[in-house]
Subunit: 561 residues, 2 copies
């Protein structure tokens, strides 16, 4: 499985080592990523496939608990990249009748259940045919560039577990390739389902190469950022040819989905002029500037079908960008945003005509009472193509805490039907996220996604809550930590108040102390109720015995013959 030979479909999978941009090895001193305590990675074998789960071992006779696992193969040298899990599947398809359209949607619509779909079905605990059907009708996407064979298949759609995306990427101001590879591995450890590389500065191509080769999850990008680098930051010089060339470059490397701001139409731009925060999407503002400078329609819109031709050849999925998304609660659900959404619906139809997998990006900043309208409109206008939202932040007044302001909106929009939630870190609006920020963002979004799964009644979601709550109630402290999203933090917090190892076995907690504990008392209540029920039962039996005339075997008269 850990074959490093070329797969023939791109320039990123060959035998040559990953590119180095200087004499310094960018991944020489990456921090080790520790595993979770009491957990082991296990591959569930089914349907000829080995699908990873993280198995949490519990105490007190409780069965082990398996959780969805995004962390990928461990202990791999980043210079070599991850094993190419999907390589034989991709090669077999190309050999057995390649139509030039390699999208999972194309196969799904021809009734073919790919190994990727089977893999997803095991991960999501549903039928492969259901996966195929959801992809065929466009209600789910399985991002899987043929040049990213290292990825473990996953699915984005509202009838599956809610997914989360983490953004990484260097900028003109900061960070190196090594830091970004570290953030990638750190993100997937904590549960990121996809990662977007939003690099805008130097070494965009090389950074991306290192990221993709080491990523077990789909990678998304915003190709216009690299285009802008190629024209030295002048949006007016952008052309469709440069754009297509860049798409091909990135598709060859293995990018699994592209954010493309094809809905920013010339006519909509004036709608933003009186907003509190104008246009806040980088891609959106680049295209707006191009449109206004040339006084022409957005070339991403006019040449959308040429873009589709590239997408289907590599199976890159569209993430149709919301370039006119609101940048403040004041601008939510306004004319600019909704006009663009109409165009995204139109473009979804065109993408689907080409069997190109498509999801739709959404806001941003939206107060709670306006969130549901976003989902309802998106589902209708984009015919249930998966919705992929950034938060939304439910208030603008807490920079430094926007992982929280946005987790509130994310949980709600996930419940209402959004398929993937793009994380926001505490540094949003203020600076570039570091390792701690990435973790805080991912954990906040795992909470939001899981809360949404619970509220949607996803089968299985409630089980983890129940396992953890049971451990909590039974004072199995270690099990409580191990079942949590972040066992180390939970344990550290417990240690701060009760550091003695014996406290981890104590039948009390620091909130009430040893003399009095509500959970302890409930245990006693339970015993008393059981005893009273038993006594009541015995008393009833005694009365019954008495009423029946005192015979030891009441029924014997009737049946003993």
């Amino acid at each position: 499985m850990s074959d490093k030979s070329a797969n023939g479909n791109g320039n990123g999978n060959g035998k040559r080592p990953l590119p180095q941009v200087s004499a310094v090895d960018p991944v020489a001193n990456l921090p080790a990523i520790e595993g979770f305590p009491a957990s082991e990675k296990v591959y569930v074998e089914a349907d000829g496939l080995a699908v990873p789960v993280r198995r949490i071992h519990l105490t007190g006779g409780e069965p082990a608990f398996d959780v969805y696992d995004t962390s990928g193969p461990q202990g791999v040298d980043p210079h070599h990249g991850l094993p190419k899990l999907r390589k034989p599947w991709i090669e077999a398809r190309l050999r057995d009748g390649d139509s030039g359209n390699r999208s999972q949607m194309h196969y799904a619509r021809r009734g073919i259940i790919t190994p990727e779909m089977k893999f997803v079905a095991i991960r999501e605990q549903c039928a492969p045919e259901f996966v195929r059907d959801e992809i065929a009708r466009g209600r789910a996407i399985l991002p899987a560039n043929i040049n990213h064979p290292e990825s473990e298949p996953m699915i984005i759609g509202r009838n599956f577990l809610v997914k989360i995306n983490a953004n990484i990427g260097n900028s003109a101001v900061s960070s190196t390739i090594g830091e970004e590879v570290d953030k990638l591995r750190w993100s997937v450890k904590w549960g990121a389902d996809t990662v977007m590389d939003l690099s805008t500065g130097e070494n965009i191509h090389e950074t991306r190469e290192w990221i993709i080769r080491n990523s077990p999850v789909p990678i998304g990008t915003v190709p216009i950022y690299q285009c802008l680098e190629k024209v030295k930051g002048d949006p007016e010089k952008l052309t469709i040819d440069l754009f297509l060339e860049t798409l091909i470059e990135q598709a060859e490397q293995g990018v699994d989905y592209f954010t493309i701001h094809a809905g920013v139409r010339l006519a909509y731009i004036p709608y933003t002029a009186n907003r509190v925060t104008g246009i806040v999407s980088r891609g959106g503002s680049i295209m707006a500037k191009w449109c206004l400078s040339h006084h022409k329609e957005n070339f991403l819109y006019t040449d959308f079908e040429r873009i589709c031709e590239v997408m289907k050849k590599y199976d890159v999925a569209f993430s149709l960008g919301d370039g006119l998304r609101p940048g403040s609660t004041a601008d939510a659900n306004d004319r600019a945003q909704l006009a663009e959404l109409d165009t995204l619906g139109e473009l979804t139809d065109i993408a689907w005509k080409h069997d190109v997998q498509t999801m739709i990006e959404g806001p941003g900043h939206v107060a709670m009472h306006k969130i549901k309208e976003n989902v309802d409109l998106q589902m209708r206008i984009c015919k249930e193509a998966p919705f992929y939202t950034l938060g939304p932040l439910v208030t603008d007044i807490a920079p430094g805490y926007d992982h929280i302001t946005s987790a509130i909106g994310a949980a709600m929009i996930g419940w209402f039907g959004t398929a993937m939630l793009c994380y926001v870190t505490p540094k949003e609006h203020l600076g570039l996220p570091d390792r701690d920020d990435v973790k805080d963002g991912v954990i906040a979004y795992k909470i939001a996604a899981h809360a949404a799964d619970l509220a949607k009644g996803h089968p299985g979601a409630q089980k983890r809550d129940d396992a953890l709550s049971k451990a909590r109630f039974e004072f199995r402290w270690q099990d409580q930590f191990h079942l949590s999203l972040d066992p180390d933090t939970a344990k550290d917090f417990h240690d701060e108040t009760l550091p003695a190892p014996a406290a981890k076995g104590a039948h009390f907690c620091s909130m009430c102390g040893p003399k009095f504990c509500s959970m302890k008392i409930t245990g006693e209540v339970r015993e008393m109720v059981a005893k009273q029920e038993l006594e009541a039962g015995l008393a009833a039996k005694a009365q019954e015995f008495k009423d029946s005339g005192g015979k030891l075997y009441a029924g014997s008269d009737d049946h003993d013959h």
Copy 2:
């Protein structure tokens, strides 16, 4: 105003210094509480009253921005306690015809608008008559024990700003009086509207005395905790007489609201036996144990009217406790919880018969799809008495992050009509909150409460979002920090990426760097649109001029005579 003489209504307001429990001065080395940058405390004069606001000074010609302020008088020696703002009002009422019932509800129902109600009206920017009417009908409470004259009046009700409560208090395991006074001052700095002292260990009485004398916000307690100390931790020994004696002791000190678990009826206890997490409320489990041990009805229920007699004499408000609240999402909205809610509705009627102000406590742990039912039922059963909920946490799987899991539920339940949100800190379920945890909890809940105000369309709530968003869009970095809930953290995060002082005036941010910035481009878009509109306008004018025959003053033919 800073009079320290006795007011004659309790043992806590006399000339004697605050009690010391040992030779060590408990508040000798409290950390100083810093103010907010660019802010000053201003007293708005109106209706003969001086109501505090925090005035945030902005740059760029923007007007100063006033925010609701809970921090109380600053720079007061904790040995002396805060000035007794309400003392003359209370004394005047007692002089001018004391009926023995001193509750704000009693005055409101007799058509009297108290100074407290006027103060609240200025704070909430509404009419005093509206405040009086909401209190009279029981839809809002104004917690204001006559023996806590230091408090600055505030109101809890769904037609006002959503409020938040912070819990402090020592336990058998940890913390001292000084730490608790520090947490009080720290909580109100960050915006706690009320504070509950949940002390359970040694020195309960003394700790409470220090807290009340230094609190500008209403203080709540759970008196059964102190009762349990008095019977050395044995719930079976509790009696109504001990309870009433403890209520009087605490009411004399000036506690503004009592959590009383009078809805834990004997018949409901067996409903909890098959729960995943039984009874998790401390007060609930104490009363459950008492009921079962004696096989008798809860004395708090049977003697509820005797309790009302104490409450109305001091104007202590009820916070009717939900002793059977769910401790896990599995147990949410179950028979035990809803049976207790029915009883709380019944008790609300009795409390209101005595003109005792009453709010109702709510869960706890509730997945998102079950939250609204809680509010709808509570409003109907308790006739719109204010709802006061703990979170709720929307999932159980993230110990260490329960300020986030619960802020999601809190924001939603606040939007649906909950009047006050009890904070949850990151330490919930794991340990006792320290200073940082208290701050994290308060900030998460300020976010939730403000998000709820926005979603409810509270007049004025949107203004702060807009002011901050405008500052953000105009690159007024300092203004953005100063308008945020936590300016220091926002600034520190910005410093991490761009530490140079000049960056605070830079028209770009670290996400995009100086060469390219979406907000910068939008500014250009705005200019271009304005220019195009101008040009279009000029062209139209030119055409008009041409069409009109080229006369310079089109109307002159008609009017120049």
